[in-house]
Every structure is written in structure tokens, then in C-alpha cells.
């Protein structure tokens, strides 16, 4: 009796809608998928045997691993020093640089991939420039090879590496470095013995994110690579569209999943050290993946009264000493990285205003013809309208369901919470192509392939995970005694939630909604599988266009797509900024 009473009081029931969607659209299909890969009910490994007996498959598999590992390694080599330089920069520079990293992170991957086609292509920016200067006489083969794949992938993934690193590094107590120095550690020794080990959690989450993302995201390799640069995920997607042979697809998907799980658990265990941290590493890595929250928190902690203390610890903190040379080298490095991150987008935006009949850089004249073409062509603006509709539906559904789930999880026993959170986050922590295949199967069973409802459900899987992460992070910072206080003043559970909890977590909820919308607006892998050719979202239309004929209108679309996240960022910033003056006011008051 007591136990039932206790269960009744537990708000775990609030997670039911989230788990219902997860189970129907993703959970059950993935089990079916696994069963068909082992030929249930016969239970044999013939499918796996068949997969490995074909040299072509094995080659693609190794190539997938090779590309993912190398891309992750390159991201780390470029990203770690960048993050370090960002963190050690002065406050204003740091905030600017973080914003500059976040903008490409929020920008459509498709648009950024397209930018590289424009830059590296035979008639692209670089070749045109070199031809024009007379350095070369025929275009260099810059695109459709492995190098192009790496350039594009590292460009796409770099923010994913830098942001967790920055977040982890900003969490390192600066006085620790000062302490190490005071105990006689030279700058470099202090860095290796104190700073680097403490930044390892960031290295781990960044690397995991990038690696898993590489495994499942086939857009960039498919667009920039040659025929021999196919990834396993490209294979899987191609099989779905050409011959839907479920056991074969399931086998490939599970091999990919196995690699992801193996790496996740290996890195999780080895680097985390302490037991149990592995279980929380994935949610944490996703918390830092959305680092605007971390940034905001750190921003508040840097108020002026502590400025002097900060000043000298910052000096101690810089491991490489303060020589002019190292400062210049650092600045040049960061500059190059920023140019690498931002220039493709800028080039596309500039080209979108070109007046010629081809895309050219620099444009020979300024015109809005491609924007006119975008808004005038029903196939383009129709796709945009579909994307907006779907995005809004996804944002509403996943914000409501995700917020409820986050609230329920927050009030559940910690051990159960870790497990359930991990489960809800599965669709965003495993290769996206696997989620796509499972969702495809799930929606086939529901008869929702090629319907807007189907797409909304499919995209909500990931969006719910994102909302849960953001709202959970906000809830974790909420002082529980505030709710107790409300209850002590006769506010019931619902009133307490509406009057106290919700207003206090509102930034998280709105942030979650924005990110859910962006997730939906940018999703192409899953959507392309479940749209069934009957529904065209903007990313799908773009992807088709990139692969078939390059209509210069796409430059205008890409520019608009880059504008959307920037607009959202401004909205979010204004909203948080509005909440800031109060605190700010107090601080200045206390200081006087």
C-alpha cells in the first residue's frame, strides 16, 4: 500500500508521453530491425557473415571508421588550441569568439556543405581565382576526393568539438593553476599536470560527439567526396531508396551502431575513471553541446568587483607565458580558424546577390534575382512553407512533451533518472542513419510514411531529447526550496508549477523550443527516408538540388538558412539580456 502511495506521488508519470513516442516510433522498430538482422526466429548470423564476406562492404566499413577517426582527430588538433585560446582571451574577446563559433554551429549543415562545393568546385571560387591570376591553366581537382571530404567534415564538426572544450575549460577553477605555479610548477608543467587532465572531460565529450556524428551523417561525404569515398551510412541510405531489403539494411545499421556503442563505452569508461560517470557522460556531453547556457552562466560570474582578482589569475593561467611572440602566434591561429569556420558562409551570402547568370565570386554586379527566384518559384517557397509548418509542429510537440519529461525525470530517483535520460537521448546519441532506418520502419507500421504527421513524429524524436537536455539543465539549477516555499504558502502542485517553476525555467523552455525548431528545420537524413517523395521540406529540396543540378537559387536559400539561426540567436540573446539588468543593477548597487 505504502509503495503504491509512493509511486503515485512520483512524477515519473510525466515522462509517459515522451516514452510513448520514443517506443512507438523508434524503440519497437529498432528491436524488429535487430531481430530481422539475426533472421529471427531462426537466429543466425548469416546476414553478418554475408556482409563481411563481401570485400566491398568491408572496405566501406573500414573507410567509414578511418574517415570518422581522422576527422575526429583533426577536429581535436585544431579545436583544442582554439578552445584554449578562446578561454584565456579577455572577456570581451572570449564572448565574441564563442558567438562566432556558435553561429556556424547553428547554421544548416547542408548550406555549409553547399558552400564548400561553391568554393572547391571546378568552376568554384578557388579555381576561378587561380585561373584568373594565371597561376594554373586548367581547374585543379579540389572537389570529389578525400581531401575535400576532410575539409568539409572538419568544417562542419569543429564547433561540435570547440564548444564542449570551451565549456569544460571555463569550468576549471583558475586558482588551481595559480596554486600549481605557487608550488613551483613551470607554466608548461602546470598546463600538463593540472589544466590538461581537468580538460579531459571536454575532450571526451567533444570527440564522442564528433565521432558519432561522422558515422551517421552522410551528407557532407556524399556531396564532397568521390565515388570511392562512400561511407557506410551512404550505403544504407542508398539501399533504402533502391531496394528495400530489410535484413540487409538492418545488418549494416547494426554494424554501424555497434561501432558507435563500442567507442561510446570505451571512451566513456577509460577517460571518465570513476565508476558511474560513464552513465552520465552522454547526457552531460549533450548539456555542454548546447553551450549557450554555460556561456550565460559564466557571463554572470564575471562581474566587475572581482575584476582585479580575475586579472592576476588570468595572467597566471596563461600557460605559455606572456611573450609577445606567443600572443601573436595565438592570435593568428585563432584568426585562421575563424576564417575557416566563417568564410564559406560569407562567400555564399555574397554570391547570392550576384547579378550574373552563374554563381561567381566576387560577383560582377549586385542583384536580388536569386531571392526573387526563390520567392517566385512555388517549388521553393512551397518547400519553405512546409518546413516552417513542420518545424512549428515539432517545436510545440517536443517542447510540451520534453518539458514534462524533464520535470518528471528531475523528480525521480537519481539512479533511475540517469537510465531514463539516457534512453530518451538515444535518438541523439547514436548515428543518425540508424535512427532514420528505425523510424522509417516505425512509420511504415503506422502507415505514416510520406505524411506530415510522420515527419513531425520522426523529427520530434531528436527534438524531445534536445528539449529534455536543455530544460533538465535549467531545472538542475532551480532551488528546490522555492517550490517548497510555494507549497508552504498553500500553492498546490499545479499552481506551484505554473506560478513558480515554469516562470523560473522559462528561458530553458523557450531555448528548448528554439533548438527543437532549428533541429527540425535542418534535419535531412531522417526526413529524406520518411518523406516518401511526396513531401518536400526545404533541406530535402536543397539536397536534391545539390546532387542534381546546381540552380543558383540555392545560394539565396542557403543565405536565408544561415540567417534563421542568427535571428533566433538574437531573439534568445534579447530575452536573456532582458532578464540581466536586474542582476546587473544589484551588482552595481552593491559595489557602491
Amino acid at each position: 500500500m505504502k509503495i503504491f502511495q509512493k509511486l503515485g506521488q512520483m512524477p515519473i508519470g510525466l515522462t509517459v508521453p515522451a516514452f510513448a513516442i520514443l517506443l512507438i516510433v523508434f524503440g519497437m522498430p529498432i528491436i524488429l530491425l535487430f531481430l530481422s538482422s539475426i533472421n529471427a526466429p531462426a537466429f543466425s548470423v548469416t546476414n553478418y557473415y554475408k556482409f563481411f564476406s563481401q570485400p566491398a562492404n568491408v572496405r566501406v566499413l573500414f573507410q567509414t571508421i578511418e574517415v570518422s577517426v581522422l576527422a575526429t582527430g583533426m577536429c581535436l588538433i585544431v579545436g583544442y588550441p582554439t578552445a584554449y585560446l578562446i578561454v584565456t582571451a579577455s572577456k570581451r574577446v572570449r564572448l565574441t569568439l564563442i558567438a562566432l563559433v556558435i553561429i556556424p554551429y547553428l547554421t544548416s549543415g547542408l548550406a555549409r556543405t553547399y558552400a564548400w562545393i561553391v568554393i572547391l568546385g571546378d568552376r568554384g571560387v578557388i579555381n576561378n581565382l587561380l585561373l584568373h591570376l594565371g597561376v594554373i591553366h586548367s581547374p585543379l581537382p579540389l572537389i570529389y576526393n578525400r581531401t575535400a571530404v576532410y575539409i568539409g567534415m572538419v568544417h562542419i564538426m569543429l564547433p561540435l568539438m570547440i564548444l564542449p572544450l570551451v565549456s569544460a575549460m571555463m569550468g576549471i577553477d583558475r586558482s588551481l593553476m595559480a596554486a600549481a605555479r605557487s608550488m613551483g610548477a613551470r607554466p608548461l608543467a602546470a598546463f600538463w599536470r593540472v589544466f590538461f587532465p581537468l580538460s579531459l572531460p571536454g575532450v571526451r565529450s567533444g570527440s564522442l560527439l564528433v565521432f558519432v556524428f561522422c558515422l551517421g551523417f552522410y551528407i557532407t561525404p556524399a556531396a564532397l567526396g568521390g565515388l570511392r569515398d562512400a561511407m557506410l551510412s551512404t550505403f544504407i541510405a542508398a539501399q533504402v531508396t533502391s531496394s528495400f531489403e530489410i535484413s540487409k539494411i538492418a545488418t549494416s545499421a547494426f554494424i554501424l551502431l555497434a561501432i558507435a556503442v563500442a567507442v561510446l563505452s570505451m571512451l566513456g569508461l577509460n577517460l571518465a575513471g570513476a565508476q558511474g560517470r560513464a552513465a552520465t557522460s552522454a547526457p552531460r556531453s549533450w548539456v555542454v553541446r548546447l553551450p549557450i547556457f554555460a556561456m550565460r552562466k559564466h557571463y554572470f560570474s564575471e562581474f566587475p568587483n572581482r575584476y582585479r582578482a580575475k586579472l592576476w589569475t588570468t595572467q597566471l593561467y596563461q600557460a605559455g607565458g606572456n611573450s609577445r611572440l606567443s600572443n601573436i602566434v595565438g592570435a593568428v591561429f585563432v584568426l585562421i580558424v575563424m576564417v575557416y569556420l566563417l568564410s564559406p558562409g560569407l562567400i555564399v551570402v555574397i554570391m547570392s546577390f550576384s547579378a550574373g547568370t552563374f554563381l561567381e565570386f566576387p560577383p560582377s554586379g549586385v542583384s536580388l534575382q536569386w531571392y526573387r527566384s526563390f520567392f517566385g518559384d512555388p517549388s521553393w517557397n512551397g518547400a519553405a512553407w512546409t518546413s516552417i509548418q513542420i518545424g512549428i509542429a515539432v517545436a510545440i510537440l517536443s517542447t510540451v512533451v520534453g518539458t514534462l519529461a524533464a520535470y518528471g525525470l528531475n523528480r525521480t530517483h537519481p539512479r533511475l533518472r540517469g537510465f531514463l535520460t539516457m534512453t530518451i537521448l538515444t535518438p541523439v546519441t547514436i548515428p543518425v542513419i540508424v535512427v532514420g532506418i528505425a523510424t522509417y520502419l516505425g512509420l511504415v507500421n503506422l502507415g505514416l510514411i510520406g505524411s506530415k504527421t510522420g515527419i513531425v513524429l520522426a523529427q520530434s524524436l531528436g527534438a524531445i531529447g534536445i528539449v529534455v537536455v536543455i530544460v533538465s539543465a535549467t531545472l538542475a539549477n532551480l532551488d528546490r526550496t522555492l517550490e517548497q516555499a510555494a507549497k508552504s504558502m498553500r500553492a498546490g502542485p499545479l499552481q506551484t508549477f505554473l506560478r513558480v517553476t515554469l516562470p523560473l525555467i522559462r528561458p530553458g523552455v523557450i531555448g528548448g523550443a528554439v533548438f527543437a525548431f532549428l533541429h527540425s528545420f535542418d534535419e535531412v537524413v531522417i526526413t529524406s527516408l520518411v518523406s516518401g517523395y511526396s513531401i518536400r521540406t526545404l533541406p530535402l529540396k536543397m539536397w536534391e538540388n545539390i546532387r542534381n543540378q546546381i540552380d543558383p537559387t540555392i545560394a539565396a536559400v542557403a543565405s536565408l538558412l544561415m540567417l534563421v539561426p542568427v535571428l533566433w540567436l538574437i531573439v534568445l540573446y534579447l530575452m536573456w539580456w532582458r532578464a540581466r539588468p536586474r542582476d546587473h543593477h544589484t551588482l552595481s548597487e552593491l559595489a557602491t
Binding site: 517548497q484 504558502m489 523560473l504 543593477h585
Partner: protein
């Protein structure tokens, strides 16, 4: 101050609360009279906060029952109990102004806007924050936040008030000032108050009665004077102030009454006089006892001096108010300690 001691406002009946294998509160029985100011005092981990959480309704007792005004509230959620709580962190809603914070409990009780406005204005004036209604909590100092929290807890005129380490976050001067203010508020409102603290000074200043808790159980319940002057156990004697335990001494302790078994003799440091060895005899020798020792250490603490005096193998703590013409002893000086036999207390060991 107890308006109606016959009618217990709050009653704990053999309440036990366990968390897994840990027993936080064991078989606790306690009554709080109407209008009484009761303090639960104890070191951390003694179960005092759990007791408060049980009373507030944030936790349910594992066994036993809690009655408020004669009705069992074990199954009543906190939001249906009529109470005011001042939290240790104040728990002021950061997204609401001071006025809106104060209005909250009134709104929840369905009081109309006009009435709310008058009551908030009156209450803010009462706690000397008349001009602060439009501020956000983060724009107030610690002491002001404390007063808003107190005002918010009292504004709906709840029959009882719970205070969780109410002054813990304030600095010393502010704490004394708030103690006086709380005492006068309690006098004025006459609200039954249960306060939880580990600060003995706070407990002694504010309470009608003090409950000393240890390891989940009540050690002693009494008025502040009685608790300090006649502690029942060695733990209480040591937790509330300082105590010299007279055990294994190298002298024969002279007492008026025979020492009950299972007890130890105890004397408070301020009950011992410290004098030069030659000035020992004070005339009423039949009512006093004198022993000699050596000063180990002298600690100067403003209005008083604290001596550590070695007598044989044990060390006596002696506290003496600084007065004109008093001799000052230095470490190594031989001294004579003497006390009234009637100041010896027997406490359970």
C-alpha cells in the same frame, strides 16, 4: 508567553523517520503549546531538520503520527497545511518583486486584490521595508531578504510558523538585531513558532522552550534557563555552553548531596573563582571548596578572560569577567580555584 499551554498546537506521537537503513528520527514525542516559541537545537545530523521537514509536510513519517490542533496531518500535503515557513536560504521567488512575493500566500488563500494591497503595505511597514516593495529579491541585502522572508511567512496569519536556521546566513551584528526583531514580532503576532538551529545563542535568546536533539532522539526539553543551569546529560551540558566534568580528579569532591549512580559531576566555567593561592580563604569555608592548580593558558576575549588551569591530570576551564583591580594570571602561575558546593550539578554520563 504561552497563551494556552493546556491545548497543544502541535503534537508528535512516537514519530520515526528512516531513509533506507538510516534512521533520522527515532520515536520522537513532543508537544508544542499554543503561542509557544520552541527551538529544536542539535548538532548537524541530529535529526532536527528532518523533524522540521516532517512538520512542514515535505516528508512523511515512517511510523507514528503528527497532530496539528488535534488532527492528524501525516497524510496532508504541505500545501494544504496552514503554515508559514522561513527557509534557511529564504527561498524568495527571484522572478517576483518583494510585493508580489508577499502577495503570493494571500493569493493562494483567495484573498482579493484590495485586501492584499493593504496587508502587504502594512506588513512591509512593520518590517521597516516600506519603500522596498518594488524591488526584486536580488536587489536586497541579506538582512532585508531575511525580513521579507519573515514577512512573507507571517502575512497570511498562519497558526504556526516554522523557522529553518533563520539567522544562519547573517553576520554577527545583523543576527543580534534580527533576534530582537523576531522576538518582538513573535510577541506581537503570538504565532506558535518552531525554530530549528544549531546556534545555541539563538536558541537561548529566542525560545520559550528548547529541545536538544542528538542522533535522532530528544536529549532534553526545558526552558533555556533550566537547560543551561540544570542540564540532564553530559551531552546537553557540553553542547549548551562549556562544562567542566569532574571525573578522575586528584581531590575529594565535596558535595551537599550524595552523587546518584550513573552520573558525573559538572560545574560551569563561570561558577569557578580564580584567585591567588594566598587569598584563598573566603570565610564561608563550609559552603565552598578550594583546590590549587597551575595556569596552562590564558585566552583574552574582550569582556572576559578564559583560563585553562591544570589540576593534577585534568584541565579546568575557568571564565572570569574582566573587572577593575583583578589580578591577571600568566601561564605557569600557581592559582587557587574555588566554588560553591551548590553549583555542582550531576548529569547523566
Amino acid at each position: 508567553m504561552v497563551k494556552n499551554p493546556v491545548l497543544p498546537q502541535i503534537e508528535f506521537r512516537s514519530v520515526t523517520k528512516t531513509y533506507g537503513k538510516i534512521t533520522a528520527v527515532r520515536d520522537l514525542s513532543l508537544t508544542v503549546g499554543c503561542g509557544e516559541f520552541l527551538t529544536i537545537l542539535g548538532p548537524s545530523g541530529s535529526g532536527k531538520t528532518t523533524t522540521l521537514m516532517l512538520l512542514a509536510g515535505f516528508e512523511a513519517p515512517t511510523a507514528g503520527d503528527i497532530l496539528i490542533a488535534g488532527r492528524s496531518v501525516a497524510a496532508v500535503p504541505s500545501y494544504r497545511r496552514d503554515q508559514g515557513i522561513v527557509f534557511q536560504s529564504y527561498a524568495l521567488f527571484p522572478h517576483l518583486t518583494v510585493t508580489r512575493n508577499l502577495e503570493f500566500p494571500l493569493e493562494m488563500r483567495g484573498i482579493n486584490a484590495a485586501e492584499r494591497t493593504t496587508r502587504v503595505r502594512r506588513m512591509l511597514e512593520r518590517v521597516h521595508l516600506g519603500d522596498f516593495g518594488g524591488r526584486m529579491p536580488s536587489q536586497l541585502s541579506g538582512g532585508q531578504q531575511q525580513r521579507v522572508a519573515l514577512a512573507r511567512a507571517l502575512i497570511a496569519d498562519p497558526p504556526f510558523l516554522l523557522l529553518d536556521e533563520p539567522l544562519g546566513a547573517l553576520d554577527r551584528n545583523l543576527r543580534e538585531q534580527m533576534q530582537i526583531e523576531m522576538k518582538s514580532l513573535h510577541k506581537e503576532f503570538g504565532t506558535t513558532t518552531v525554530c530549528v538551529t544549531h546556534d545555541q545563542e539563538e536558541a537561548l535568546t529566542l525560545s520559550d522552550r528548547i529541545v536538544v536533539m542528538r542522533a535522532g532522539q530528544i536529549e532534553q526539553t526545558d526552558s533555556p534557563e533550566a537547560l543551561y543551569d540544570r542540564p540532564a546529560t553530559c551531552f546537553v551540558a557540553k553542547f549548551l555552553g562549556e562544562a567542566n566534568i569532574l571525573e578522575n580528579c586528584n581531590f575529594e569532591l565535596e558535595t551537599d548531596a550524595a552523587q546518584p549512580s550513573g552520573t558525573v559531576a559538572m560545574i560551569r566555567p563561570e561558577r569557578i573563582c580564580i584567585v591567588a593561592p594566598d587569598a584563598a580563604n573566603r570565610g564561608d569555608a563550609d559552603r565552598r571548596q578550594s583546590i590549587t592548580g597551575t595556569v596552562d593558558d590564558m585566552i583574552y576575549a574582550g569582556p572576559l578572560r578564559k583560563y585553562h588551569v591544570r589540576v593534577g591530570s585534568s584541565v579546568f576551564i575557568v571564565r572570569e569577567h574582566v573587572a577593575a583591580g583583578q589580578p591577571i594570571f600568566r601561564p605557569g602561575d600557581g592559582v587557587c580555584l574555588d566554588w560553591l558546593r551548590s553549583d555542582i550539578r550531576f548529569v547523566a554520563a
